[in-house]
Structures are given as structure tokens and as C-alpha cells.
């Protein structure tokens, strides 16, 4: 299909890499490119990783996205995987100019994969595990029936996001209850006795409680402690959980990662000295990639605006900025950028650099859903503070409500109790009940979650899902 050869692509990559390493000063790891048919690109995109186990789940996404591609409604240009070496899929049939942009873009991703600490915490040998997991799941489908395995996979995926993410900072254990000695204890013997009793009771309570501390790793807890699971089911739980852990760091660095990739293709594109018609095509493609998305945020767009803001602050700060950032005005902009790319995730990036200027350039607005019609939105503000207040919490939790296991013997019946650590917004009832029924399939008994009432935030509410698919809501502890 293509009018260029693999040799042409090699030349393009060499040129881009030379510019990135030379003029821009970025050390970039090896990237292996695969020139693949659209169908394969879309299939790998649906899977998230190539050669993943076969499932109707990916089929649904593939059908959807590939259908839109065939109808000309969207086009994926590239796919890149955080493995060692880095693998990238280029879509066969794209013009050489498009491939040039994509190759430059991929070099940006490869740089972030290599240097960013969050992304470095990922198992980069994941492909060997993925392939072997795919074989085992195919076997299970043969033995236990495709539908049964697919249903079980669906149940696992319902809660796969609830796991601690790559931790750069170790979290402290909750201190055990202990009696404190005070200077005047001897004067108040009754209080000392009462205090001793309180501590003893707390200790006893703690020993009874299981898990001892609220457990964030939902699938792992189920894999270890659910009764009545067969070996193949425990294996599937562990596969889903560990594959998911590959994706979470990418989710938390999406804006940073895409921003860098856009910066790379823009900076390299300007230095390639393409003939006018090709440069025009390059620019058009760049405009498509970075166009704003109404009603949501295009990470490519926001990412590049933030990174360019960092570079501007480094090169040309105003007085306030000089005061706030010691490096402002005293550092090479690209050097400062590299420092930030090493250790920031999206949350940190937004907290520090979502400035009023970025909000204006990216034309951001904060919105609320229209009551009774959640598919429609009302713009509530264009102020940077309001935008930050809304956007940062979404990125600190990746949009995943924090749900932890607090009791594995709820009501003394071996049921599971979860708690939603809310930030002022309750759980969606329909989805909570559906998810809990799925969890009950894994746990083997009913699973409940305690959250807050969506209408009245002071009121607790419990949702419960049962293994037979039923579910209910109650306003008193069940």
C-alpha cells in the first residue's frame, strides 16, 4: 500500500533521533517499530497490549473503534508499549509525512518511559507474562467453557482498578493502640485504669478485625482469602490484577506523556526543514492531534500547553514566578523540562503548573452536570482556581473512587464489607450495585459497600450485591 520503503522509515528515524539527541539533548532508548495493518493496530489498541488473552471484552472495543475507523470517524496513528525495548506500531498506509510525525512523537514517549519514575516502576518484561497468561486462559476456556471464563474475567475487571499504584513513597502502618505514660499519672489512678482498659479493648478489637488495616488491593485480597475458588479462578484473578498494574502508571502520567510526545514532534518537525507541502501536511496533522475536545480534556492539548508553560517560566519568568520557582530564569528550559519529566505525574504537574495562563491558552472551563440530565453540562467557571479544584482530584485518583476492604467477616457471615472513602461525592447507585454483584461472584458471598447518599451527603448508605445477581440499597447498616 505504501509508497515508501522500510529503508525510508529508517532514514526518517535516524534524522529525528539525531535532532532529539543533538540539538535538543534527549537520550532516547531503542524503539522497535512495526509497520502493521490498520486492523492489527486497532486490535492491539483494544487489548492495550499485543498478544493478550483472547476475550470478548477486547472484541467489543475492537468492533467499536475499528468500525469508527472504517467509517472514517477516527484514525489511530500510532501505538506504543512501555516494554524493553520499547515497541511501537505504525499504521501501514499512512503517508510518509504522517509516519515522520509519528516517529518523532514516539521518541518523546520512549524518553518518558525511560526516565519517568512512575513509568519505570512497571514490569517491562510484561510481554513474556502476557503471552503465557494468554495460553493459560485459552486452556481454561477449553476446559471450563468460554462463557464461564468470560463471565469470570468480567467480574475481575469490574474491580481490577482498585489496587495500590506504584508507590514511590512507602505508606506508614497505622500505629497499634498503646498506653501513653504521662507525668501526672500517679495523681489520677482511675483515669489510668480506664485508659488501660480502653487500650486492651482496642487491641482485642484489632485482633478480631480482618483485614487488620483497610485493604486497597481488592483483587489480591480476594485471590488470597476467598473460599471456594478453584485454582484456575485464582490464576485468572492474579493475571487480571497484574496486567492492570501495567496500565495504571500510564493512566497517571497521560498528560505528561502525551505532552512530551507532542513537544517532540513539534520541535523535531521544525528542525527537519521539510518542503513546504510536506510541512503543511505535518502541521495539519499536528493540529488534528492537539485540537481541544469539548466537554472533556484532550491530554495532548493540555500536556503541550503545560510543558510549554514550564519552558516559558524557565526562559522568561515574571517577578512572581521568579519568587516562586528558584530555577525560573536561571536554567535551560529543556533541562528544566527533563528534571520535571523524571519525577512528576499528572497530579503533581497540574498542581504546580496549571496556571491561569495555561487555562486560558487551553481554553479550559469547569462544568457541572445538569441535574436530571447528566449527559448535558453547564459551564460553571473559567477561573483557574475552579478548574484546578475540579481537575486535580480527578487526576489524583485517576477518576477511580477510592474503595477499600474493611471487613471480611461482615455480619459474622463471611461477607465482604467495603468502604468508599469519599471526597464529597457518593457512588453511582446503579454501577455500585452492578459491580457488587460481580464482586459477589468472586467472593462467593454477598458484598456490601458503605458510601454516602448522593442526595444528602451526611447520610450513609449501603449497597449490597449478592452472588445470584440481586442487589439492594439500605440506609441502615445491613
Amino acid at each position: 500500500v505504501s509508497t515508501y520503503t522500510l529503508e525510508d522509515l529508517r532514514t526518517v528515524e535516524d534524522q529525528c533521533r539525531e535532532i532529539a539527541a543533538g540539538e535538543l539533548g534527549f537520550e532516547i532508548p531503542e524503539v522497535i517499530y512495526h509497520l502493521v495493518r490498520p486492523e492489527e493496530v486497532y486490535f492491539a489498541a483494544a487489548n492495550g497490549l499485543p498478544a493478550r488473552y483472547s476475550s470478548a471484552r477486547w472484541g467489543a472495543q475492537f468492533d467499536d473503534a475499528y468500525g469508527r475507523y472504517q467509517r472514517g470517524q477516527e484514525r489511530v496513528y500510532e501505538l506504543i508499549f512501555n516494554t524493553r525495548p520499547v515497541h511501537a506500531y505504525l499504521m501501514d498506509g499512512n503517508s510518509l509525512v504522517a509516519q515522520t510525525l509519528v516517529v518523532a512523537h514516539c521518541l518523546g514517549h520512549a524518553f518518558v518511559f525511560e526516565t519517568n519514575e512512575w513509568l519505570g516502576a512497571v514490569d517491562r518484561e510484561i510481554m513474556t507474562r502476557v503471552v503465557s497468561a494468554a495460553e493459560r486462559i485459552a486452556d481454561y476456556m477449553g476446559v471450563y467453557g468460554r462463557d464461564r471464563v468470560e463471565d469470570f474475567l468480567d467480574a475481575c475487571h469490574a474491580v481490577a482498578a482498585h489496587q495500590p499504584q506504584a508507590q514511590l513513597i512507602r505508606k506508614a502502618r497505622r500505629p497499634e493502640p498503646a498506653q501513653r505514660e504521662r507525668p501526672f499519672d500517679v495523681l489520677f489512678p482511675d483515669e489510668v485504669v480506664a485508659d488501660r482498659e480502653r487500650v486492651a479493648a482496642e487491641r482485642a478489637n484489632l485482633l478480631k478485625r480482618f483485614p487488620r488495616e483497610p485493604e486497597e488491593d481488592v483483587l489480591q485480597f480476594i485471590e488470597r482469602h476467598a473460599r471456594g475458588l478453584e485454582d484456575w479462578q485464582r490464576d485468572i484473578i492474579s493475571i487480571v490484577r497484574s496486567e492492570q498494574s501495567y496500565f495504571l502508571p500510564q493512566m497517571r502520567t497521560k498528560i505528561l506523556n502525551e505532552g512530551t510526545a507532542v513537544l517532540f514532534h513539534q520541535e523535531i518537525g521544525q528542525r527537519l526543514f521539510l518542503p513546504t507541502d510536506r510541512y503543511w501536511e505535518f502541521e495539519q496533522l499536528n493540529a488534528v492531534v492537539t485540537q481541544p475536545h469539548p466537554g472533556r480534556v484532550n491530554p495532548y492539548n493540555l500536556g503541550i500547553h503545560i510543558l510549554r508553560e514550564v519552558m516559558r517560566i524557565a526562559a522568561d519568568p515574571d517577578e512572581d514566578e521568579r519568587e516562586r520557582w528558584g530555577w525560573a530564569g536561571n536554567v535551560d528550559p529543556l533541562e528544566q523540562l527533563r528534571t520535571i519529566l523524571r519525577s512528576y505525574d499528572d497530579e503533581a504537574l497540574l498542581r504546580e503548573f496549571l496556571t491561569p495562563k495555561v487555562c486560558e491558552l487551553a481554553r479550559l472551563y469547569a462544568f457541572e452536570h445538569v441535574a436530571h440530565d447528566p449527559r448535558r453540562i453547564r459551564i460553571s467557571s473559567r477561573e483557574a482556581d475552579a478548574i484546578r479544584e475540579t481537575l486535580i482530584p480527578l487526576h489524583s485518583t485517576l477518576g477511580i473512587p477510592s474503595v477499600v476492604i474493611v471487613d471480611a467477616d461482615f455480619r459474622g457471615r463471611g461477607e465482604l464489607l467495603l468502604e468508599h472513602r469519599h471526597t464529597g461525592v457518593g457512588l453511582d447507585e446503579e454501577y455500585a450495585r452492578g459491580t457488587l454483584s460481580q464482586m459477589a461472584l468472586l467472593w462467593g458471598k454477598s458484598v456490601s459497600v458503605k458510601t454516602i447518599n448522593a442526595r444528602n451527603l451526611d447520610e450513609p448508605v449501603w449497597f449490597t450485591g449478592h452472588p445470584d445477581g440481586r442487589s439492594e440499597r439500605s440506609t441502615a447498616e445491613p
Partner: protein
Amino acid sequence: MTVVGESGLPHDAGRRDALHHRERVRKKITEQLKERIGEEDIIASGPEKKIRVPVKGTKRWQFILDRGQGKGVGQGDGQPGDILGPPGSRPAPGEAGTEPGEELYEVWLDMDDVEELLFSELELPRLKPKAEADAQSAHTVYNDIARTGPQLDKKATLRENLMRNAKRGRASLGGIAKSDLRYLSYRELPKPREKAVVFLAMDVSGSMTVDRKRMARLFFYWCVQFLRSRYNQTELVFVAHTTEAREVTEEEFFGRVESGGTKVSSAFEAIAQIEQNRYPADDWNIYILHVSDGDNFAADNQRTLELIRRLTETAALVGYLEVDPAGGSRVHKLSAFYEHEAADIDGFVFAGAVDDRELWPALKKFFAREDVQAAVR
């Protein structure tokens, strides 16, 4: 730098998973299709016979925040206070309006599959073996090959010889041995014993507005699709009537525009005539379906009733569907008359439809599988 020509993945992996996915949503689709049977996109599926169906109820469960209280951030034009249309249909995690996007998505379906799904619940009711004599008139088909027999099959014999030679490394004919000989063999195929004819009669008079005609045609479209796919030996007779009735071709039937008054009896008279001449009840299972807006000449009702009584004696089913998208008063309609006078006639079934969604229930009323009907009762 390394550029590799391909991914090394199985080439059909995506399609394979997509097939599994479609299989899983099949059931849900069936349920939803029935409500959408009249929608244009299903019928106007084009020469490729593929349609796009939105599937509800295939949610991907996960904990999400209450959607009513959700806040988010977007990009683009607008002032505070402005209300914007639905936010991006599939927000990525961490973005505005987080809602798992699978609540409603679209699948491409083969029309053949759609029909298979729908028609699996239908059958021609009370289909009886007819004309026992047919067993004798079974006809002989030579469609098999044997090692013995009266009639040599030269082509098959030469092929055997060629294959035997080829196995020994000689690519030519020659040296035909006895083991090469092949004979024609036959099987006796009984003629289909359950012969059926379906009369499709449509009111094309002036009172049938564009909307009513469209519904009538939709209904007959599905009838014909169903009969052709499930009973391809069934004969179809198309009758169009105003105050007069005549047999028409299928094309005329679906394309015809006429005007004039309505005498329903004319249709039944024409059917009775055709039946008598070409489809003796001893040899044929007879089904009659009539669709009208029910605006009959009042003076004709009694005559119509008589004909229905007579036809139900021989026919397995006489069905009447009244289409009235406007849903006006039914007092002077044929359905009101039938309700009063014809409710007790065995083999006479009538139904009404005020919109497209009621066409499927009507079709099912006429053609429901007996076990399904029993279950409903």
C-alpha cells in the same frame, strides 16, 4: 533503528474476539430488535445486508462517582452558565464526566443473523402433512456415487483412475482397473409433504394514508422475509384490493399506489377463487393475512364475515391486522366489528398496530410457535 514489517500476531485475532463479543450480546440484541423491527435502518440495510444496532444493557460494571453530582473540566468555547450537549461519549479515565462508555454502543450485524434471531420464534401454525399420496410420487435424484450399480459414472471413474495413478507418481490417465469404476447412485426424495400457500392481502384504497401504507408494507416485508427464510417452498399469493381485488406480482404489491373505496370482501372473494382453482385444501395448508386501516364500507361487513367463516373452514389461519398510526376512534372500524362478531371464529386472529413497535407482536400473534403460545397462555 529497527522497523519490522509485521507484528507477528495472528491476523484474525481481532475479528475472532469481535465474534465472541457479538455472540455474547446476541441475546440482548434479540430482545431489543423486536422493538425496533419497524425502524428504517433495519429494513434499509442496503445491498450488503449489514446494519448497525445500538446495544443497551451491556454495561461494564465498575465503581464510579454519582453521575448527577459529577463535575468536570472541558475545553473550547462558551461562557459560564452555558449548557452544552452531551460530553464526549467515551471519556478516558480521569477525564471529565467519567462514565464507562459501554452503556450504549453499536454493533454491526448481518441481516441474515438478524432474521435468524427474530424468526427463530415464529412458525406457520397448525401446519399439517397434506396429500399423503405424495409419498408415492417421490422423485429420484442421482446425486451420489457408489462402487456398484447399474449406471457407470464416467467422470468419477476417470477421476479415481487419475488419482490412483498420481499416487504412484504418474500424472496421466490409463490402465483403468476394476477398483476405479464408479457408478451413479440415486436417492429417493419424497416431495415436500407439508405444502403451504400464504395469501397476503393488502388494502391499497384511498383511505390508506402514506403512513398506513408504510406500516402495511413493513408488516408484509417481514412476513415475506420470514416465510422465504423458513419455508422456502411455501407459495405466496399477493392480493391488492380497493373495492375490487386482484392478484398482483410481488413488485406491484410493494410498489403500488391506488385510490378508491374499500370493500374487504372483494379480497376474500378473490382469495377464495384462487384457492378453489389452484390450491385445493386437501393438498395445501392455507394461510391468509389481510392488512387494512379498517375503513370498510359498513354494508360490506356482513359479507366479509361470511367469507371469513367460510375460509376458516379450510384455512389454518385467517389473520387481520389493522394499522392506524393516528390511533383514532375505532368505533366504525373493522376491528370493532370483528371484536363483536368474529371473536369466536376458530382460526381467525386479529391484531392492531398504532406504531411500528406493534408490528412484531402482531407478527408473533399470527405466527407464534405453538410452544411459545402455550407458554403465553
